[in-house]
Amino acid sequence: MTTTVAPPTGRRMNDTTRTRLQQLAAFAGLVVVTVFFAFASDFFFTYDNLVNNVLVSVVLVGILAVGTTMVIITGGIDLSVGFGIALTGMAAGRFLITMDLPLILGLLLTILVGALIGFVNGFNISILGMPPFIATLAMMLVCQGLPLVLSDNGASIYFDALPDYQGISSGTPIPGVPNSVLVFIVCAVIAWILLNRTLLGRYAYAIGSNEEATKLSGINVRRWKIIIYVVAGGFTAVAGIISSGRIGASPTAGSGYELQAIAAVVIGGTSLAGGKGTIVGSVIGALIIGVLNNGLTVMGVKREWQFIILGIVILAAVYTDMLRKRSESTH
């Protein structure tokens, strides 16, 4: 076996080449679909379409995807994030409209609701030892039902009386850039910092690589797993705030988004087995989904075919990832 000699600077050679390759593959995919649609449609590659349609449509799935990335890196999964949007949005409506709480307080309480969803998930998984799929599937059903309970016979709550709240998603403090896109970027940056610069990230990767070894190394694995689900729940609440500010708090908001978020994470090269994955990859994954949806719509492809194409893209992305890993491990 020939071993690579470390560059004198001692930078992370093996590690980064691998993750870079992974991101590069996803990024190349994004470029390919973007170029394809740019040629296929005159309208697609315009600033207005790319920012106001593609980016804005990606925001919710993208924010969910960054939270989900952390969970998946630990080897878990979170199915509750989709309807979590409905629950946290409805909670925001109750706090800010029904109860007329101050904006900041209402926002904090809403984030707290999201964190609470994550805490219950984390508790059930980490302390009670339930499989993440089951624990968060159950929580998904709770998040589907609770907004209806909180609503008046399923009616949405609108925030027209609170332009400041709506401004969080639709304002344009920087001309030409919708605020929701900025929120998405901030979320992605926070998640990136958490994963790459903090203990939470280190332990997330460690737990996903080998939970038992991490435990035996003296890390409080239970506590860190709960924290990671709580953080993911916090991101869900942010998505809930954006969604409700845009279209009002609807009890059916976010339906199916959890699967799109997982799809984005997987397209971005994160392994469902845990231990590997990047935020940048997941953001690119979300963008690929957004570009595909928008591009196909602009080209007049019917919605049903869009689903089928997305399915094929996921299969192709995961399969190429597998091929790459196989060639890596045999050299």
């Binding site: 690579t4 590690d15 203990l199 460690a206």
Partner: protein, 541 residues
């Protein structure tokens, strides 16, 4: 070896049921078997004994077709036997019962016995009644007290073993090979098993019985074949041999005494004291003391409970009773995180499963335990410092890696072990528990690990070294604790410890075992006991 006359077995004759002739098998770096000999006569129970790693399981795997021999041949009834898959052995009448059962707990006894041979009607419709009838016929013939319809997962270990035996014998086996069949059985269950074996042995069949337990060999076997370090040593007639004869051949080699460490003086402070430690499953009243700068060897056979002691101390397994004191102060490590705070580190016998983050860098592995207290502020990690400090350990332990950014799985076994050691040294542990520190490590790297352990002890670290390699234990330990069946059966100073003495203690069945059986209300009159259980299972359904 010179003192032993090497008696080669008789050349193959008609009477031999199974013969292993000059079989060799190598793995990278290891000669697992070298010119192995073994003969099984018709109508006998042959015991096969040897230390851990003597080559017993390799031989089993060759006979099962899991491995292929590099050289040599097997003969059954005087005809050559080639085994390339488990089915080949089955077809020629060899049934192997492994220590780990291959049963499906959610299927019934009948379904397990006949899996793959269900004989469905029309090719796909299962007939449960017919299957149960076939199973009942078989079980009656074998006189096994089992209910064909009972779910295997709900049976005791002893009964699960009966299912394995029934399954093996349903292929009309002539040769039955059992690997440590009594490891998980109590005395009464052992007696039942032996009765079953005696029923099975006819003038046309034979049994190879692999075990460490001397009293059992006396009870069940006619001859005992001893193997050591992958080589055939001797075959003894059970009736005319003593336990000492067998043990001296198992251990064999002269142990060089000059390398032995001096005993640690009594005036050194006791660092770790364990009193009456018990666990739910195995350990009973384990007590010992570990002094500063001492290497305390833990010897014993597979399954004696040595790893369990380590896991219970650091809280990886639950303790049901007992106390642990560190420098005279009572501590209660409920999980490995608490143990790590007390500077107690456990290095698992299974590095890949329990020690390393294989897909992560050397730095990530070395710094893992120390990350929160040494390389982070307010939760933010300082990678550069972690890398620099890791590099220092890589240099001082001479870990051969192109850089600290190398992925751990690309390192050799010895270097991976050093990475795990570095992790605990960085954590500044005073008590280090090494579980099989040189397993899967080549000879040169072993010496380095030994030197490292000696250096650490000289620096005042207290070390528990669990090892299945007797020479390693004797060479390294200031004192040796010997375990058998979840208890400590003896403690020897470096001067007292010799291979035969340790092996004797390791093969003891702790006295209290027999009284346990009485406490549990188990009566040697087995048939009634089993029939009761049989009826209870019926009621459960």
């Amino acid at each position: 070896m010179t003192s032993l006359s090497k008696q080669l077995p008789e050349p193959a004759t008609e009477a031999l049921l199974l013969e292993v002739r000059d079989v060799s098998k190598s793995f990278p770096g290891v000669k697992a078997l070298q010119d192995m000999q073994l003969t099984l006569r018709r109508g006998e129970v042959l015991a096969l004994v040897g230390e851990n790693g003597a080559g017993k399981s390799t031989l089993m795997k060759l006979l099962s077709g899991i491995y292929q021999p590099d050289a040599g041949e097997f003969y059954i009834d005087g005809e050559p036997l080639r085994v390339s898959a488990p089915k080949d052995a089955q077809d020629r009448g060899i049934a192997i019962i492994h220590q780990e059962f291959n049963l499906m707990p959610d299927l019934t006894v009948a379904e397990n016995i006949f899996i793959g041979r269900e004989q469905p009607r029309g090719g796909f419709l299962l007939n449960g009644r017919a299957l149960n009838q076939r199973a009942a016929d078989l079980l009656n013939r074998l006189e096994l007290p089992l209910n064909p319809r009972a779910k295997v997962g709900r049976l005791t270990v002893a009964k699960q073993q009966m299912v394995e035996i029934a399954k093996a014998l349903s292929y009309d086996a002539k040769v039955l090979i059992m690997d440590e069949p009594t490891a998980a059985l109590n005395d009464a269950e052992v007696a039942t098993l032996h009765a079953l074996i005696r029923r099975f042995v006819t003038p046309e069949t034979g049994v190879i019985y692999i075990s460490h337990k001397m009293d059992e060999l006396k009870a069940i076997s006619q001859r005992i074949t001893v193997i050591r370090d992958g080589k055939y040593i001797d075959t003894l007639d059970t009736a005319t041999s003593t336990m000492g004869d067998v043990i001296s051949r198992m251990v064999g080699r002269e142990v060089t005494t000059d390398a032995r460490p001096e005993n640690v003086r009594d005036d050194r402070p006791v660092i770790l004291a364990v009193e009456n430690l018990s666990t739910q499953s195995l350990l009973k009243n384990v007590s010992f003391e570990l002094r500063e700068g001492e290497i305390l060897g833990f010897a014993g056979l597979m399954g004696a409970g040595r790893t369990e002691v380590a896991r219970a101390i650091v809280g990886a397994d639950k303790r049901v009773s007992g106390h642990i004191s560190l420098r005279g102060k009572r501590i209660d490590p409920t999980n490995p995180a608490v143990a790590a705070q007390h500077r107690i580190g456990y290095l698992s016998e299974d590095r890949k499963q329990y020690g390393l983050l294989l897909d992560q860098t050397v730095t990530a592995n070395i710094a893992l335990s120390s990350m929160s207290e040494r390389f982070s502020k307010f939760g933010f990690v300082n990678d550069k410092v972690a890398r620099d400090r890791s590099r220092e350990y890589v240099e001082s332990l001479k870990v051969k890696t192109p850089s600290v950014n190398q992925i751990a799985k690309n390192l050799s076994g010895g270097n991976q072990q050093k990475v795990v050691i570095a992790k605990w040294l960085m954590k500044d542990c005073d008590v280090l528990i090494f579980d099989e520190p040189t397993r899967g490590i080549d000879v040169g790297a072993k010496e380095e690990i030994y030197r490292l352990l000696n250096d650490l002890a000289a620096q005042g670290k207290s070390i528990i070294m669990i090892s299945s390699e007797l020479p390693e234990v004797l060479r390294m330990s200031h004192r040796v604790v010997v375990m058998s069946e979840g208890r400590i059966t003896g403690e020897l100073s470096a001067a007292e410890a010799d291979p035969a003495g340790v092996m004797h203690l390791a093969t003891l069945r702790p006295d209290s075992n027999a009284s346990d059986a009485v406490e549990l209300g188990l009566d040697p009159v087995l048939v009634t006991e089993d029939l009761d259980a049989y009826e209870n299972e019926e009621l459960d359904r």
